[in-house]
Symmetry: C2
Subunit: 298 residues, 2 copies
């Protein structure tokens, strides 16, 4: 069974929210950060609180490795411990690592992120170097059901620089990436019609969303761009199919929900428990908004 099937089932049961553990130290309640033995310890304790508060109402978690690498070796230890915490709780996790290297090197990365200290269920990959930077990862789809989301059309401003380039043969660069990913998915199709490997498609260009969803029927989507990057529930829903077939990521708006509602003088008093409650509330609101936009009952 591919992890993408488990992800499909998680979305059906718990909604399409992907909680982004892009846990920058500046997102933490300042008091918690001050009290902790180190920034890395503070990040780990915060993550545990967020995971406990949201695991039953989100499909999965995404963990942005850059936030941990920034803290050096201690940060990567916190990264490994956060992954261990997620595995203990049976939560699905996407390692947002955007690796893109070839052949032997790709296999080494795959071993690093699909086994051992840094084991995740899914990774994100960058396709620039070509399909020989994606295909080696498939051996872990075959042996362990692991999955990947390959950058196709992202949600940042710079996506227009290269992803949007119009090709001589017609279409844009991201269409050709999509074509190759569609082939890949067809070769490893799960129980719900989605391939083991899917794509990253941002919800910031709603005019294209319905077309992309229709054209890429067998690709499960990791959908960034919600909230802070401007995407709304209605935009995200366009990339889903009956509310499934994708997970919608939010990071800052969930992790920093503790700071959002008029907490200013009391900011220092906010602790992880308070932050976790605020995160749960934000994730629930997001889930319900997307479900409603997708035409489902909440």
């Amino acid at each position: 069974m591919y992890q993408v099937d488990k992800l499909y089932e998680a979305v059906a049961a718990k909604g399409p929210v992907c909680v982004g553990l892009d846990t920058a130290v500046e997102y933490l309640p300042p008091g918690e950060r001050r009290r902790a033995a180190s920034d890395a310890e503070a990040v780990l304790a915060f993550n545990r609180a967020i995971i406990d508060a949201t695991a039953d109402i989100c499909a999965c978690f995404k963990i942005q490795i850059a936030c941990y690498e920034e803290l050096g070796l201690a940060g990567l230890a916190a990264y490994a411990k956060t992954l261990a915490c997620l595995r203990e709780r049976g939560a699905l996790v996407i390692a947002d690592i955007k690796r893109g290297d070839i052949a032997d090197t790709a296999l080494r990365y795959a071993k690093a992120h699909f086994t051992g200290d840094f084991e995740a269920d899914f990774v994100t990959l960058s396709p620039y170097m070509g399909m020989d930077s994606i295909e080696p990862w498939l051996s872990y789809a075959d042996s362990r059901g692991k999955g990947a989301f390959v950058l196709m059309r992202t949600s940042n401003k710079g996506m227009r620089d290269f992803e949007y380039q119009e090709l001589k043969a017609g279409g844009r660069l991201y269409d050709v990436v999509g074509d190759r990913l569609t082939e890949l998915a067809a070769g490893r199709l799960g129980n719900y019609g989605y391939g083991a490997f899917g794509a990253v498609v941002g919800c910031t260009e709603p005019e294209e969303a319905a077309l992309i969803r229709k054209k890429r029927g067998n690709l499960f989507f990791l959908i960034p761009g919600y909230g802070a990057q401007g995407g709304a529930a209605a935009d995200a829903a366009l990339l889903l199919r009956e509310g499934n077939g994708g997970v919608v990521n939010a990071s800052r708006s969930i992790l920093r929900a503790w700071a959002a509602n008029g907490i200013t003088a009391e900011k220092d008093a906010a602790d992880n428990r308070f932050a976790a409650e605020a995160a749960r509330k934000a994730a629930l609101e997001m889930r319900d908004a997307i479900r409603i936009a997708a035409g489902l009952r909440t």
Copy 2:
């Protein structure tokens, strides 16, 4: 002063070889691996021997992080210690991390790889998401002279999948990436006419090489594809200008030189000292072959 200026001076003084510390455990003399307390320790000891044996005859080192990530946290500790060893010896190092993420995330990666445990002089970057995945790194060019090599036209087979796509407006995708990198370099030009940020251009397509070198006058090149991937000294020389303006990477052919010359029965006896001598010999031969092909005296 930009690190690219130091790199230019290193090439002038010591030749264009970049020794790739893509130190997979299976590259080590088996006896050394067996004797070491752990694979990560074995890799570190081997790296120290290779660095000591080649630092005076190579321009710089490249360190492929995947080989260390593969060993988990212990591997990344060996990665950090290898970088520390290179800094102690005053050697220039390119962290081959091929990161490509945007905005805040890019800044976190830049902090991770230009300061602290994982500090390097240069990194490799992937441009798929657009220039907002490259530009944040420039703040470290301004504050600390750091540099980057952005994937432009690589040396793997899969480069034809996307990098080679012909564009409606003319040229190929890698040309547009090259155009943007040329602009970037023009804004941060070092003392020898090369920008702080350069490009990765493989030496596997000699028919294009002279044109690329001519068109990208202000880009310093990191040149993969030599040896194991089929590039010859003459091909690499086409991407240089009077033997400078780029560094030519070789990994396996240098690290595994100990195994190359008929060592079979004695394989187990080969130790790090033997491997280091063989690596030095291989690097010297490569340096001289490229210098001759570039029309210089060795």
